[in-house]
Symmetry: C2
Subunit: 453 residues, 2 copies
């Protein structure tokens, strides 16, 4: 079934030194290099060798210090993703570069400029994963005591993205003339103030970087709550999402593609790419052993702390071999609402203790865990891809660089053999890889925007 020409989109999603909370203890992880460029260079080159659409860095603006054990037993340092991706852009040619940046604790002018700069310097490979942050600890690094409420964060996010897009469009595509003879560097009639005045932002523009190579860097979004779905349907071009079962993923896929219509968008304008945590073995036994080793490496305290953080509820006072206690109503959860529901449902469905639950999720952190031989891994990806659950996947290697190298060496060839994934890049920009159109300027449509006097 499916269109012969339809190919998966693949992102390499990096937590460092691996998606599994105990990855740094794995004998083959690069735990000593979590802040060194050599590791990132190797990862990027491997992803490009595997013809990935993009590499993708998560982010947050605070140390995870819910519990002392988190700082002690897990990796709580991570370089700024835009800084990382700029450096990576210099040693790669094709792979897309996705940075997570929050709209809650940033300014649209800076965000527009940094992504526009990266897009120019990388030859059109930048993407922005738009998040709204989730924790009071982040607020407290930015002059606030509490993280703003879910609804107001999403309202701000929508206006933020709107302003950023206007700034990207403040120079028309052909504004730069660079005519030495006439002394005309730019055509001022093609450079526009944006004069945005909204509830959260007042921004004059124009940006001091010309229109990005991609028109707009690709907009990615991860929220799967009601507000998150609406924002995505309105503004996103890729959704990064977390589902455990085919049925849930299909329902989400259907829901989002339907919502697009409301905003006058076609189904192809938004790619849905769930996260997948693959444990790959040359045999089933090798895969199971890898899984078991990683589970055993999780110190109990940091397992409980991770689970507590994921559900925004402190479990440290409850018996680790007992069931989840009664949890608060989801309405009172501020940040990661969909993750909260997913884990609560999983524990109920499979009757898990706290320990069993953290062992299950300490790798995938709520995303789908798939395990097996390369053929079995490919089967599981293909099933979702061909049954209306995904346009592609964000691959979350358990430990790095080995987990990524296994995927590239063992699984990618299997996907290519089945005609499910590209053998060579056919374009240069991330939009070309993802099959997304280069957007026309929002300013040319909106005649209310002023011109420079």
């Amino acid at each position: 079934m499916g269109d012969n020409k339809r190919e998966m989109k693949l992102g390499a999603f990096f937590m460092i030194p691996g998606h599994h909370v105990a990855s740094w203890r794995h004998p083959e992880s690069a735990a000593e290099q979590v802040q060194q460029f050599d590791l990132y260079k190797r990862l990027a080159e491997t992803a490009e060798k595997g013809k990935f659409d993009m590499i993708f860095f998560a982010d947050g603006y605070a140390v995870n210090d819910h519990h002392e054990s988190t700082i002690e037993q897990t990796v709580t340092v991570r370089p700024d993703p835009l800084t990382l991706l700029s450096a990576i852009s210099a040693v790669t040619n094709k792979v897309g570069l996705t940075a997570t940046v929050s709209t809650t604790y940033n300014e649209p002018f800076h965000v527009a400029r940094k992504f526009a700069s990266l897009d120019h310097l990388s030859g059109g490979r930048a993407a922005w994963n738009v998040v709204t942050s989730s924790r009071d600890a982040e607020a407290q690094n930015f002059n606030k005591s509490k993280h703003p409420e879910h609804e107001s964060r999403y309202e701000r996010a929508e206006e933020f993205v709107d302003v950023v897009r206007k700034l990207w469009d403040s120079w028309e595509d052909d504004a730069l003339q660079i005519n030495r003879t006439t002394g005309r560097f730019a055509d001022p009639s093609k450079v526009h103030e944006v004069n945005h005045k909204g509830k959260f932002f007042s921004v004059r523009g124009p940006l001091n970087v010309s229109r990005p190579i991609q028109g707009h860097p690709v907009i990615i979004q991860a929220g799967s709550s009601e507000a998150g779905r609406e924002l995505a349907a309105k503004t996103a071009e890729v959704i990064f999402t977390a589902w455990q079962t085919l049925e849930e993923a299909q329902a989400f896929y259907q829901d989002i593609k339907t919502r697009l219509v409301k905003y006058g968008r076609s189904k192809d304008e938004l790619k849905i790419m769930p996260g997948v945590f693959p444990i790959i073995g040359r045999t089933e036994e090798e895969a199971s052993n890898k899984q078991q080793l990683l589970r055993e490496l999780i110190p109990e305290k940091s397992g409980v702390a991770l689970l507590s953080a994921l559900i925004s509820f402190d479990l440290s006072a409850f018996p680790v071999d007992g069931p989840l206690p009664d949890l608060p109503n989801i309405k009172n959860i501020n940040g990661g609402k969909s993750r909260f529901k997913l884990l609560k449902d999983l524990a109920e469905r499979e009757q898990l203790t706290i320990r069993q639950l953290y062992q299950q999720i300490a790798g995938a952190r709520g995303h789908r865990e798939i395990k097996g031989t390369p053929v079995q891994i490919a089967d599981q990806l293909q099933e979702w891809f061909e049954n209306g659950a995904a346009d592609g996947f964000n691959i979350m290697p358990p430990y790095l660089p080995g987990g990524l190298e296994d995927f590239v060496e063992l699984v990618i060839p299997e996907l290519q053999k089945r005609g499910l994934f590209r053998k060579e890049y056919t374009g240069n920009t991330l939009r070309e890889h993802l099959g997304l159109n280069r957007p026309t300027s929002t300013l040319l449509v909106n005649t209310k925007v002023g011109k420079l006097s």
Copy 2:
């Protein structure tokens, strides 16, 4: 005279595609590449070949659009400097990487993290040029109508730098343990909240990047007003400054080195590096022709606009071949006070018309212009260096990449021959190049800072 072992510090200071306002019209400038990585890579490699201490990017947060002619006739786009320097870090090994970032329109947590990230990824080569911005047009891109007053900007800047340093120190040097066997990634007793609460900022910390390789990235500062001098004497490790005459530069040098004592600092802890705009010819005639060509390339309107911007006063209504009109009292100038005084004094001293003044300053923009053969250029640098006016210089090539390549091929060997400049890098970090000590942690001294509970 002078100590035999004392060597100049040299920065390559980049406006793109050259410091001269008409550089982009020069037949050998890379005007078409102002947003392309290839140009920056070439510049950085050339600077490293020349054994420069650092490359240095200015910055601003608005298009220069005082006049339509500025957008039309000058280069008003420039990539974000941190994005640029991260990319450059990946293709260089030794040269220092200095980015200008304003304290008026940023948050300390982001700034601390970005520079800490760059410092780790580059192996200890990051420096921050601290500025407070200068224009209403920048304010208007960040939800404000007016640029804040000089005094309050400097007050904010001082607190900002203080918070950034605390965040850099929030992880002790040996906080990372990375012991796979015990499961201890970090020692939580060596990771500290900063709990800063001041007039402008409230920041909890710790940072989510460990202590930078250099301890602190190098702090550079450019203000030469009274408030700027005090801030520099208290916090800076390099001063980037603008002087036209030996006497002025000596007086400034003496003044700053004396102020250091008040803050318990030694004279070696702060390097004074004035900007220098060199026009280099293999013969005097070639140098004069180069100067004349650049002057002729300046369109009249953009010359007047540049001068207006530099003195924060609109000159477009006055006859271009007449004298400067009566200017406002310096007290009413908000931003670039010392530049205002310097240009006013220059016009009076040399009895210049508006056109003559803009032609004189359109290259150096208020910095010292030196012209001549490599020997003459070296003489002029040596004179200031050996007579208490400078510890080194920020070299501002008129057009790029040619102006930098001339300096590296023609002037650097002359300086090396005289024993005034290094022939090889002897260290790896920017601090090592500059002869600056690695700072001890501010937090270890300040016992009031809380530990994590």
